[in-house]
Amino acid sequence: MDYLDYVQMTKGQKFAYKLKSFFAAIPKVIVKLFMYIGYFFKKLFTIIGTGLKGYGYRFAKGDIGTKLSFIIMGAGNMMHRQIAKGLIFLATEVAYIWFMISFGSVQISKIFSMNVDVFRDGSTIVSGALGSEPPLKQENMLGVEEIVNLDTLDNSNKILLFFVMTVLISIAFFAIYIANTKSAFATQQQLKEGVKPASFLAEMKDFLDEKFHVTLLTLPVLLLMLFTVLPIIFTIFMAFTNYDKEHQPPGSLYWWVGFDNFADVFYANPMKSETFGKILVWTLVWAVFATFTNYIFGIILALMINKKGIKFKGFWRTMFVITAAVPQFVTLLIMRLLLGDNTGLNAMWGTSIPFLSDATWARITVIVVNMWVGIPYTMLISSGLLMNIPADLYESARIDGANAFQQFTKITFPYIFFVTTPYLITTFVGNINNFNVIYFLTGGGPSPSNYYQAGQTDLLVTWLYKLTVNSSDFNLAAVIGIIVFVICAIGSLITFNNSKAAKNEEEFS
């Protein structure tokens, strides 16, 4: 369909067309997701290819020093008169080899040991466990089983953690190794051209200028690797084990179970999969309602406060900002007490409205309270935007005879909507992850017995929290975390595709 057809449609048809194209775009986004993955692998292989080519080229064209540095790191630099740099490379290699021999190789070897579990009734299970020797259990004098030798025997948790750590360290070492061959070759070329390779001091000084990004980023990235990336990889691995409350190290080992946990969540375990389905639907419903109610009413509030002729603008704004400024856990706990079964409003009115204890009531209440929490934020943000709308737009509209309502529908709303689309989708993703409102208000409840460790107002993230903290179902929690990640990734991809700011990043710098 081309533009002419579209213009000739009636308003209703236009709306239907837009709606249709919105839903038609969803499969496209999913296709695009896979295209991105494909593109990623293509790029990865190109990088590996050019990397290998460069690696071979450097070895073929290198002199004896460069060639030697392919085995003994830093040899090239030392022979090309960069003693200090060469020694640093050499020390890295020695440290890495020592680490692998004494520690790393042990961790890697234990990651998939065969484990034979003998149960009391004599049955056995052979499985790929993390570690081979479960701690011994002995009966003590009171006849209770007690774990002995905790520290000397295998702890699946530590094995998995150290394995991930070893892999990350190896990747870092590999990068340094490649840098070493490049450095050796570069100094060789410089000597050939009669240029004296930079002194150690000069190279160090370069870290404050040409290579300043290395200085700035090293520490933040290192800590990020250790305390964010490492735990995330660790958690993703957990999703493929049976690390739950029955298999808690150091008391017992846990082992690999493949995709069993994912199967449990999607279909294999009726209780878990039903809980998951219901929570997923409620999470999406909640995110849609929470996002749009806040957005629409926040903009209306901002329009009212900023309307020409309304006085005390500062007063109105401050009143609403105060409620936004109070820490959320305080306001939400207050709301919980205000809306309790026989506290707060119910006590004052002498009623017993089940604001938070009946599923339907509770779902409506959390959305309404979320409006109370969120509308001031939207008001604050859109107030700033309203002032940014160029005044001459209104001027010319007025000359053309547009009334206030037309000015709103044709100028104000399209402008705000255009500018805030990225914000809207960020808020949507934020609401999928909205822990505070649900957890502090209802705690996820009411919790019927056919929900697995969850309640009827639980979101995926609050379920994740409960699985981690209350029931120690770490494997299930990890699966839920991965699913939330996928949902957010699709959401963000849609934003990223549509936002101009992302495409033209350089234009504004």
């Binding site: 800590l223 995330i232 509030l301 305080v330 007490l337």
Partner: protein, 292 residues
């Protein structure tokens, strides 16, 4: 009737309509303010209430007293003062570290061009999509191995180690500082290190204040990590967890008014900070959007 008369009548009619509409807006705003302020007023009144118990069937307490505040700071079962200093310790340390990290990372991504810049940016984007506390159990194991189990330092690390990921707002701000400044300094022989400390940072006071503020408030309001990391070590609780525990089933009726007093004490400084700094908040959040 001449034309000017009719237009005058139209104008007065228009003015009357506008006035009526404005009055309507005032009424709606007033009602909304009452609804929005009501829970906060209720909280303050409850914190001053002399009567015991969870709640009263009337709005204004019959007996106004400050004994809840006195009890808040002297009670032995719930050592609020200790939690307060714990929180202060964690908040100050993570504020300093996080602010430094965020400024460093956002300067690097905004002003410096290097080979793997795009890769890093995409990497950060992907990491940001994992739910923040998904890997809580794994982080706990790591802390255990480092011997930081249930230590306050572990909380500082959790709040500030990943701070580098929150570079977007500050990067957006740095992007708006003219590049000609950097170039002029470079011609005068300044290194990038000097440009960062002596030219960009002095121009970035608003964003430094904003970053410091958000990273300071974060630990005050966080419940999730404290509740898992400190579980049963009540000596190292922070105020959010401590106040939440006051509302447990056994202690709620006794401590409800004390909880309200604690909530007021925590809320006042943060509210004042936020109201003063709201301009920076709005600039921070909309900075990227307005450009687009």
């Amino acid at each position: 009737m001449t034309q000017s008369q009719s237009s005058k009548e139209m104008a007065t009619g228009y003015a009357a309509r506008t006035k009526a509409f404005n009055i309507l807006v005032y009424v709606i705003l007033a009602v909304m303010v009452i609804v929005w302020i009501f829970p906060i007023v209720w909280l303050i009144l409850q914190s001053l209430r002399g009567e015991e118990g969870i709640s009263t069937p009337y709005f204004f307490p019959h007996e106004i007293t400050f004994k809840n505040y006195v009890r808040l700071f002297t009670d032995e079962r719930f050592p609020f003062l200790r939690w307060f200093f714990n929180t202060l310790f964690v908040a100050v340390l993570s504020c300093v570290i996080s602010t430094l990290f965020i400024l460093m990372v956002s300067y690097a991504f905004s002003r410096l061009r290097f080979k793997s810049r795009k890769t890093f940016l995409n990497f950060g984007l992907i990491l940001g999509m994992f739910p923040g506390f998904m890997s809580m159990a794994a982080t706990y194991s790591i802390m255990e191995i480092f011997g930081l189990k249930q230590q306050l330092i572990a909380l500082v690390i959790v709040y500030s180690a990943g701070a580098g990921l929150g570079y977007q707002v500050a990067k957006g701000f740095f992007d708006t500082i003219p590049r000609s400044l950097d170039e002029a300094a470079k011609i005068d022989g300044a290194t990038r290190n000097q440009i960062f400390w002596q030219i960009i940072l002095p121009l970035s006071k608003p964003i430094i204040v904003y970053t410091a503020l958000t990273t300071f408030i974060g630990p005050w309001a966080d419940y999730i990590f404290v509740s898992y990391f400190m579980k049963d070590n009540s000596d190292n609780w922070t105020v959010a967890l401590g106040l939440y525990q006051m509302l447990g089933n056994q202690t709620m009726s006794e401590y409800f008014t004390v909880f309200c007093a604690g909530a007021v004490v925590i809320a006042i400084p943060i509210t004042v900070l936020f109201v003063i700094m709201q301009r920076f908040y709005v600039e921070g959040v909309t900075g990227g959007a307005v450009k687009g």
